[in-house]
Amino acid sequence: MPDVLHNLALGFSTSMTPLNLFYCFVGVLLGQIVGVLPGLGSAATIALLLPITYYIPATSAIIMLAGIWYGSMYGGSITSILLRVPGEATSVMTCVDGYEMARKGRAGPALGISVFGSFIAGTLGVLGLMFLAPALAQVALDFGPPEYFALMVLGLTLVSYLASKSVPKALCMAMVGLVLGTVGLDPVRSTERFSFGILTLQGGIEMIPMVMGLLGLSEVFIMLERQTRSEDIVQAPAGLRNLMPTRRDWRDSSGSIGRGTVVGFLVGILPGAGATIATFVAYAVEKRFSRHPERFGTGAIEGVAAPESANNSATAAGFIPLLTLGIPGNVVTALMLGAFLLHGITPGPTLLTEKPEMFWGIITSMYVGNIILLVLNIPLISLFTRITRVPPAILRPIIVLFCLAGAYGVNNNPVDIVVMVVFGIVGYLITKFGYEPAPLVLAFVLEPMVEIALRQSLILSQGSFLIFFNRPITGTLLALALFMIVSPLFRYRYRLYPGSGVPRAR
């Protein structure tokens, strides 16, 4: 116990400095805003802000990026409830009962319970992170290259299986990401690969312009292509007053918040699953355990409370693989790994012992950020609903501006703008053809680590592939990955039915 207090004190002494408080505030506010805006996701926003993190201290940078992520979980529910348009993929499930509640004139309590549920789950999630991360980091200290290799293979497989509409397409994207990751000097022997004598390519493809193009600019292109008619501009109702859920609402939803938190946390730890899947699972669990499952879909407050809690605890859990193993489990934490690497810091089991003030600073900042979000949301929610009235015609050029300045600012090299535009076009085309950029980005970030782990393992075993199967952890993880690849039984496949805005399991 004294250890916990000591760690908390250390963490808060980092996260409560004026500078870090400022970046935490900026992060959660931005997250809240992009959460409200349909079309612009948290991954795109984090990609857009990556170049800025180059110029601020590492801890502040991660605090800000983390704030964007969990902040967007608060904002995403607003348009889901009021307009049946999810602001984020993680609030798709909230549309179902949230919008029905709003139609019955209960928009206030629906928004209220999603804010309180988010806060409770976010805080409990951070508590879980605080206790689990050091323990896992301790275990991970014994991991060697074979374990890391197996974890990354499993992670990439899970991403392709859980988080996508089509498994072969997701695997294709992961392979393209891995191939792109090999461009530049081979990390072991320094052989030049795929650089074609071009100086810019010798150091590998620059991550920042690439992700800004794939995740940010491509969104602009997709938004541009849609004809913006007047009825497409989302109009939110003004004058929301009563956000407070009634006593009965609390009684109905307290169990859902608890279950949503636990489900979200457990799903969130898994690489590849993440917050979106967590909301699907939480909703399904809630419906399964409800005494009145028929109420779901007609405006049951449990149907809002459970997924909104799940997505917040899932974000906290999502930090566990990144902070303890140094392996990102989804595209958002992959971008954060990028931010760490920009500062020359490799997160992993040694982060806790070598930079405890940073480790605990990041974790405690999430308590602070959740409190800021609660305080912001309660009085200002009707103000946030007005963000939806910013016309896309103004929003799009501003996103482009951020892309331009950010891509250029990395190396002061206009070639980076061209790289960004090329990946913008790639991102736009792959989205149009039903592929997703997320596995590509994750695989690209993981590639050098995969390669080093594989080759070091084989040096360790003097060339025997048995090393991947006769170590218990490695063997289990790889067997699991293999099982996922060969067995179609374990596929969770969700997709959006065109126009309905409601996901269904197939």
Binding site: R84, V85, C172, V176, V179, R226, D232, P237, L404, N412
Partner: protein, 169 residues
């Protein structure tokens, strides 16, 4: 009073699902990926491969590319299977604005070093706002000026070295 928002914009972009044989979007995308994989295999064959026991620089690129070739072939081949959900050929109706934006960005990249950040950003914002988004002249000028100056100040404050250009601003 709540207004029901028709999620028309959502459906415009979601891949549609039709029975095999009706469309060939997956055949096209799968074939492009397959050709890309072949090109990677051809290039990777020039790197030292090593052996399975001691893989060298070419080992992983080759393995990734072979997996990509297999997966993309699967995407193409399964379109002939009965009752497979395949992606509908996307519509290209709004392409004009995308192409125009891409061209503007490329021109920006080639001009920013000698025009300077402020002037070139002002011009591209004006072009995007007025030319592509059809915002009114007054509004376009106002937002272009504010955003160019504000981003310049913000990035300079953060320490990003933005080009001054040939002009004194």
């Amino acid at each position: 009073m709540l207004r029901r928002h028709e999620a028309a914009s959502q459906s415009a972009n979601s891949p549609g699902y039709r029975r095999a044989g009706q469309t060939n979007a997956d055949r096209l995308s799968g074939s492009v990926l397959f050709l890309f994989a072949l090109a990677v295999i051809w290039q990777a064959s020039k790197f030292p491969f090593g052996t399975i026991r001691a893989p060298d620089s070419g080992f992983l690129p080759m393995s990734f590319a072979i997996t990509l070739a297999l997966m993309s072939a699967l995407i193409v081949l399964r379109t002939w299977l009965p009752r497979t959900a395949v992606t509908e050929m996307p519509a290209w109706g709004g392409m004009g604005r995308v192409v125009a934006t891409v061209m503007a960005l490329v021109v920006y990249a080639s001009a920013v070093d000698w025009l300077g950040y402020l002037l070139s950003t002002l011009l591209i914002m004006l072009l995007l706002l007025r030319g592509i988004e059809r915002t009114g002249w007054g509004m376009s000028l106002l937002i272009a000026c504010i955003s160019a100056v504000a981003s310049y100040v913000l990035f300079r404050q953060l320490g990003v070295a933005l080009p001054q250009g040939a002009l004194p601003f």
